[in-house]
């Protein structure tokens, strides 16, 4: 079930360098939230801190509070492994496991939590996840072929199916379309639109039309100065952000008058 994320006063560090400073925001369930901003402004770093994926980077750390409904994901007894099975992630570059078939890719994460899944349960979950990712019709005849044999857009939808097969409540997407052609991009955007009935979706994008098309709310990040940490400048309804932003900086960015 979709859950709300409440962030207050989050700082993210790489070693001594502060990459993201003092971000507070609420991400609504059953909606799409877009993060926009120029490269290196900390939006991807912030996204990764929402499911503790930043901890994979050596030296990275975070301070502050992130609540998933009532659960403090940075709480002392909270296992990052559990956090990531609740808050899934899709990456910029489609990354299906190259040695696994399409079927095994989809089921890989679900098998981790439930290794005694019966064949029929597994079959159902694979079909459900692939249908959910709008990929079932294209691959149902070749589920045992390697996932790496699909096109880039299909691979990315396979990765989405793999992430949703774990039944997370939130899906984080880090520039999921930046390596795809316009038609594949459209397929993913349609998919995001359908999925928001069931999930809380956060998408980082460099493409402002995409943010405007898919998101309900938009957050704009920017650096306070070169070499300084990234900050949340403004967040609001996507419509309003793209027509009447409150901050001058936001307006400059979305109108392209930006250094």
């Amino acid at each position: 079930m979709a859950k709300r994320i409440d962030v207050s006063g989050l700082n993210v560090f790489y070693g001594d360098f502060k990459a993201v400073e003092d971000v507070s925001m609420t991400i609504e369930p059953r909606s799409v939230t877009a993060f926009i901003g120029s490269s290196g402004c900390g939006k991807s770093t912030f996204l990764r801190a929402l499911n503790r994926m930043h901890e994979v980077t050596p030296g990275a750390s975070a301070q502050g509070k992130v609540l998933l409904d009532d659960l403090d994901i940075y709480g002392p007894d909270v296992d990052p492994v559990m956090v990531r099975s609740e808050i899934g992630m899709v990456f910029q570059k489609a990354n299906p496991f190259p040695t696994m078939s399409i079927y095994d890719n989809v089921i890989a994460g679900a098998r981790l939590n439930n290794s005694r899944m019966s064949k029929s349960q597994a079959d159902d979950l694979v079909e459900e996840s692939l249908r959910g990712a709008n990929l079932w019709e294209e691959v149902k005849e070749r589920l045992n072929k390697p996932g790496a044999g699909l096109s880039g857009g299909q691979q990315q939808r396979l990765c989405i199916a793999r992430a949703t097969a774990v039944k997370p409540s939130v899906l984080l997407m880090d520039e999921p379309c930046s390596a795809l052609d316009p038609i594949s991009t459209l397929a993913i955007e349609d998919l995001i639109h359908n999925m928001k009935e069931d999930y809380t979706i956060v998408i980082v994008t460099h493409n402002m039309q995409q943010a405007a098309r898919v998101s309900d709310r938009t957050a704009f990040f920017n650096l306070s100065a070169p070499g300084k940490p990234g900050k949340l400048i403004e967040m609001g309804e996507t419509n309003q952000m793209f027509t009447r932003p409150e901050q001058k900086e936001t307006e400059n960015y979305i109108t392209g008058r930006f250094g």
């Binding site: 050596p58 099975s85 994460g109 981790l112």
Partner: protein, 320 residues
């Protein structure tokens, strides 16, 4: 269908060949050819020198276990026992070394703090630098006596497995001792190959596993081991190549005797390389030629194992 309809293709570059280029290309080419010549030369030498004894042999070379070659007439010798001992010792060494090597490599790449990891990597490389005669001394002087009580308990509890049927040798100088020494010697190469391939696992694959709630071990199982399989296999087979040919340590540890025995806790087995080293000083009559024939067999076995290793690694690279 023509492929050259580009109008007025640029004239082929005909500029004069620079002298440095010619010299360097010649040097590189002749170095490359040299290695082929050396290999062919060694093979030819082995065949030519082995031929007199093989022709005079009264027994089937491939199936005979005895070694009566130090005579002027009617030698009777065969490679069976030696080839068996060689392959058995190398295989046992491989079985012991590979899991440890994978563990070390995984620890270095994914578990150890960075400074410990580089120190550990350096130490493993250092293992490869120890001369094999030192391993031999260590094998006789330390390992063999230390292993005697271990062998006794192995034969007591696992004696029903033919490999471990007792009674164990009181000296400890057995094939299993030699295999332990060999395992330590091939550990570095398997570790180094596994470590290299584990470091090349794309970050995307590792993050994909972690992002769906995999623990570190599950991440290794999902993303690292499948990707690294070919490197592990290749490293293991290169290690096996080394174990097959290793001479000094084995010759020092094993007592000279010749038989085919699955019982690795008793003395009685010998390897080709060890046999050559021990017999050569006393070889007379057809003896030298017969030992060279044994060398030819070792050369062939090692070549096959190394080629298999290259093939596995190359195929793995193509897939990845």
């Amino acid at each position: 269908m023509t492929t050259t309809d580009a109008p007025q293709a640029a004239p082929p570059p005909t500029g004069k060949r620079r002298i440095g280029d010619v010299v360097f290309a010649g040097l590189a080419r002749s170095s490359g050819l040299l290695i082929l010549l050396i290999l062919a030369g060694v093979a030819a030498f082995l065949i030519v020198q082995a031929w007199p004894s093989l022709a005079a042999n009264t027994q089937n070379f491939l199936t005979t276990q005895e070694w009566e070659a130090n005579v002027r007439e009617d030698p009777a010798f065969g490679i069976a026992a030696l080839a068996f001992g060689t392959v058995l010792a190398a295989t046992i060494a491989l079985v012991m070394a590979t899991p440890v090597a994978i563990g070390i490599a995984l620890f270095i790449v994914y578990y150890a703090p960075r400074r410990l990891a580089s120190l550990l990597g350096y130490m493993v490389d250092l293992l490869a630098a120890i001369p094999s005669v030192v391993y031999g001394l260590w094998g006789i002087g330390f390992l063999a006596p230390q292993l005697v009580p271990v062998f006794e308990s192995i034969s007591r509890y696992l004696g029903w497995i033919p490999l471990f049927a007792g009674p164990p040798s009181p000296s400890g100088r057995t094939l299993l001792t030699a295999s332990v020494a060999l395992a330590v010697m091939i550990l570095p190469i398997i570790t180094a190959m596994s470590r290299d391939v584990f470091q090349q696992v794309p970050q995307g694959h590792r993050e994909a596993a972690l992002a769906m709630g995999a623990t570190r071990w599950e991440m290794i199982r999902l993303a690292v081991l499948p990707f690294g399989k070919s490197g592990i296999v290749g490293g293991a087979m290169l290690g096996m190549g080394r174990a097959l040919g290793e001479t000094m340590a084995v010759a020092m540890i094993l007592s000279p005797s010749l038989s085919i025995s699955w019982n690795v806790l008793q003395s009685g087995n010998q390897t080709i390389a060890g046999h050559i080293a021990l017999q050569y000083p006393e070889a007379t009559g057809y003896g030298v030629s017969a030992l060279i024939a044994a060398g030819l067999v070792l050369f062939a076995i090692t070549l096959i194992v190394n080629m298999a290793a290259r093939y596995v690694v190359a195929r793995g690279n193509k897939e990845a």
